[in-house]
């Protein structure tokens, strides 16, 4: 188990577990072996879940743990390192979810003296939990209930002091909408309904403050590495993010038939130019911002007609724009701002609403006002979801559950995997991504898989999935597992020429470990399998690794005239290869996953 009294560089070697039912705490030692095996962020988060979450616990049950997990790089001068992971069992999927966010919360939280903060229990009344080096306080937050996350955050800092940093939920989290977010400084831990988990604990905000620093194994070497990485972060590999942001994907994806439109009925959107970064940047850009400790500065703030200032990303514009057939940029920006205020994941919101719009079109859902292309209807239904009123009560459950209620074959076009709504990548025309979406532990997810990289690189025929696509998807999944655990922003990925070697070098300088690329490859595999093991304990079955029928029985035609299909047998073959290459059994189950407390049986 290693020596817990002298943690490696970059770590405190302990997690704080807070039961908000009675404001009691305990310290969970994090031995060197665990830290080395799981690193931090998403990796350490899944270890904590495997240790602390009761098998089969309901995601919204008081006993379900909610972990805020930092990493060895947080607090170092390495660019993009001020990140934290929020990890829990997802109320949307019933499986693991881990979402990352970047902000000063990561630094303040870690400097309380902990590598992770885990909440369990349920407070009697709406509460704010304050944690600093002195201990914890649970204070009444009734006056914050109903506020947006950003207003709640501001209220906490006004009341307790500007040096507190608060991660908060909005009204959607309070209502336990199954895709509610947790946010800090406008950045969301967005996917999987973590805001609902926090809401179920009656915690409106978690506020942290700390000044306790960690030792670094070789401070001078870390400083030199930080300087080098900062220099590289200004190069061509990040130009896209710095100059236009991820929204620049929108027109490019439209040109290559990968832009999901009207609930994945097509992969191009004729009105896409109206929502393009190229145009919006000219007419509406009001600011660019960086996350804490970041030199890239990917945040592009645009103004809507109502002068709302909105952070714009590809995913929120895709989901609330083309996916719902809405092309008015003002209404899309307003919808995005509304999701921020309510604390809603934009991808799941857009996916669920687009599904509902198609149901209305097919006469399966009695909400005649909810039509593709109607931006006002989009705003109305977001309000209803946030408040769980009207049709919003159904849609607050997510597209999978809603389709089960509505029936009529609507599950075939409910755009989700494992209950999580799909991001803005058309799987029929990106078949590495199709595999990545199908097998990912979190569900339909572009951040833990990232297999779209393989499809967009040009080495593979992106519409004809093969074993090579599977191997490429595994490689991107492994890279993501390490980046999400160290944690480094993925927008940096292009600056690393030999990523695993370079990451091992960074870790060695921070921690003092003699870690190398091979070890990190093994770490990645361990983390991926640990997620799978957690899911297995929570009821995952082989059938969960699959895509909705729409993608398997309806072709998409490319501009070239070529028709992209993804027959079920091809997807099945790719999944079988994935299982084999990952060392899983033919049903996708890991044989065993070692943890610090012993070997975790999974069957």
């Amino acid at each position: 188990m290693g020596d817990v009294t002298t943690p490696p560089g970059g770590y405190f070697g302990q997690a704080l577990v807070v039961d908000v039912t009675d404001a009691t705490t305990r310290t969970l030692p994090l031995p060197d072996g665990v830290l080395r095996d799981y690193l931090g962020g998403a990796g350490l988060g899944v270890w904590l879940m495997n240790e602390l979450a009761p098998d089969g616990v309901d995601a919204l049950d008081a006993q379900a743990p909610l972990a805020f997990v930092f990493s060895p790089l947080v607090g170092t001068p390495l660019t993009t390192s001020a990140k934290f992971a929020v990890v829990a069992k997802s109320p949307l999927t019933g499986l693991l979810t881990d979402a990352l966010a970047s902000s000063h919360f990561a630094i303040a939280g870690k400097f309380t003296g902990h590598d992770a903060i885990v909440l369990t229990g349920r407070a009697e009344t709406p509460s704010t939990l304050l944690i600093d080096e002195e201990g914890i306080r649970l204070v009444d937050a009734s006056e914050l209930w109903g506020m947006s996350a950003s207003d709640a955050e501001e209220a906490v800092r006004t009341r307790f002091g500007r040096n507190w940093r608060a991660a908060s939920i909005g009204p959607a989290g309070e209502q336990q909408v199954r895709y509610a977010t947790i946010s800090h400084d406008g950045r969301h831990a967005g996917r999987g309904g973590l805001g609902a988990v926090m809401g179920a604990k009656n915690v409106k905000a978690l506020a942290v403050k700390g000044r306790r620093r960690v030792d670094l194994a070789d401070r001078a070497a870390v400083l030199a590495a930080a300087k080098d990485l900062r220099g590289r972060s200004f190069g061509p590999a990040t130009a896209k993010y710095r100059e236009l942001g991820t929204l620049s994907n929108l027109l490019a994806f439209n040109a290559i038939s990968t832009l999901p439109t009207r609930n994945f009925q097509t992969a191009t959107f004729a009105e896409a130019p109206l929502l393009s970064a190229e145009d919006l940047a000219e007419s509406r850009s009001v600011a660019k911002k960086s996350c804490a400790s970041c030199t890239i500065g990917c945040e592009h703030i645009y103004a809507s007609k109502g002068n709302k200032k909105v952070r714009v990303e590809y995913e929120n514009v895709f989901a609330l724009g083309p996916m719902c057939g809405v092309s008015d940029p003002d209404l899309v920006l307003e919808a995005s701002a509304l999701c921020d205020d309510l604390g809603l994941d934009t991808i799941s919101s857009g996916g669920t609403i687009a599904w509902a719009m198609e149901c209305v079109e097919r006469g399966l859902l009695d909400a005649p006002w909810l039509r593709f292309g109607d931006g006002q209807a989009l705003l109305r239904v977001l309000d209803e979801i946030g408040a769980r009123t009207g049709v919003g009560a159904l849609l607050a459950e997510g597209s999978r559950h809603a389709a089960e209620v509505v029936g009529g074959g609507s599950s075939a076009f409910a755009p989700h995997v494992k209950g999580m709504e799909m991001p803005g990548y058309e799987p029929r025309t990106m078949q590495s991504m199709a595999l990545g979406l199908a097998v990912n532990a979190r569900g339909a997810d572009h951040n833990r898989s990232g297999a779209y990289e393989a499809d967009l690189k040009g080495d593979l025929d992106r519409v004809l999935g093969t074993d090579d696509h599977v191997r490429a998807a595994i490689e991107t999944e492994d890279r993501a597992a390490v980046m999400d655990s160290m944690i480094l922003c993925k927008f940096l990925r292009g600056v690393f020429t030999d990523p695993f070697d370079e990451w091992a070098g960074l870790l060695a300088k921070v921690t003092g470990w003699d870690v190398d690329a091979d070890e990190l490859h093994e770490t990645a595999r361990r983390i991926v399998l640990a997620k799978r093991a957690f899911n297995l304990r929570q009821g995952w079955t082989t059938a969960d690794d699959w895509l909705p029928e729409r993608f398997l029985d309806t072709p998409i035609e490319l501009e070239s005239g070529r028709v992209a299909t993804l027959p079920a047998e091809r997807l099945r073959a790719m999944i079988a290869t994935y299982y084999a290459e990952r060392g899983l059994d033919s049903a996708g189950r890991p044989a065993a996953v070692p943890t610090a407390s012993g070997t975790e049986p999974t069957t």
């Binding site: 190229e278 990289e453 967009l456 040009g458 070239s560």
Partner: protein, 275 residues
């Protein structure tokens, strides 16, 4: 010619790379090149498979047998062509391969062994489609010193595609109305004439920072370019590893020598695509 046709310069590339690139744009399986024993070839896309005739001097039938036997591992049908077709268009390759499609074909023409274009009255065995399982039969013919394709056509089911049949394909009619796909270069003058023609007209659009960072007007532009590298240069881009191109909204490539053809559209996107 005095120079191996395969190595003839073609818009900064070579004739062989150009022709294999055109065919590679159409087919899902690997492109196969069959060379004479010991023949040196110019650099090719790494995805192209190179095989060798077992013996020299048996003409195209020998190469046909070797190429089809390799292709048989991947497909039922193959498009076969010589290296000296500078104006070969992807739409022509598609139209020929569609000749194997039974849909809409009279019963007596269905299930052909060979789809053989007859352009301006001349048959084009080196720009034709073949069933890949013909390889053993062709090998037998070669062994019997029957070294002309006509020997094969005498004993198998040939579907003829004349000009009208080829141009019934609307895409081909639009981009190659004169069926110049089958023009070959046999003499230096042929080559000079072909090389003196302007590159095909294509439409180029840059996306994201490639558009906003260029200083020029955004939106589609019509340029003349024979390959992606030339097209990039025409709009002020260099394929430096951070830029990729999608041709006709289909495959994404960073290979500057990928041929471009009349009627193509090219989307230049950031290689760091994704969110």
């Amino acid at each position: 010619m005095g120079t191996a046709k395969a190595a003839l310069e073609w818009h900064g590339s070579t004739m062989l790379r150009h022709v294999t690139g055109v065919v590679g744009r159409v087919v899902d399986a690997p492109v196969v090149v069959v060379r004479a024993p010991g023949q040196e070839l110019p650099e090719l896309d790494p995805r192209v498979q190179v095989h060798q005739d077992p013996e020299e001097g048996h003409g195209p039938m020998q190469g046909l047998a070797v190429g089809l036997s390799v292709a048989a591992e991947h497909a039922e049908h193959a498009f076969v062509c010589s290296t000296d077709l500078p104006f070969l268009h992807a739409a022509f390759v598609s139209a020929v391969l569609r000749g194997f499609d039974p849909a809409g074909v009279p019963a007596d023409e269905a299930d052909p062994d060979v789809v053989l274009p007859f352009v301006r009255g001349y048959r084009q065995p080196m720009a034709a489609g073949y069933r890949t399982d013909l390889a053993p039969r062709i090998a037998k013919l070669v062994a019997a010193q029957h070294l002309r394709p006509a020997h094969l056509f005498e004993e198998c089911h040939v579907r003829r595609l004349d000009d009208a049949a080829l141009l019934a394909d609307r895409r081909l009619a639009a981009v190659d109305p004169e069926l110049e796909s089958v023009i070959n270069v046999n003499e230096p003058d042929d080559y000079e004439e072909a090389r003196s023609r302007p590159a095909p007209e294509i439409v180029v659009e840059r996306y994201g920072v490639l558009a906003t960072g260029s200083g020029g007007a955004r939106g589609p532009r019509t340029v003349r370019a024979a390959n992606i590298g030339e097209a990039a240069a025409q709009v002020g881009l260099a394929l430096d590893g951070h830029i990729l191109a999608a041709v006709n909204g289909d495959q994404i490539r960073g290979d500057g020598q990928l041929p471009l053809l009349a009627g193509d559209s090219v989307a230049f996107i950031s290689a760091d695509a994704g969110g």
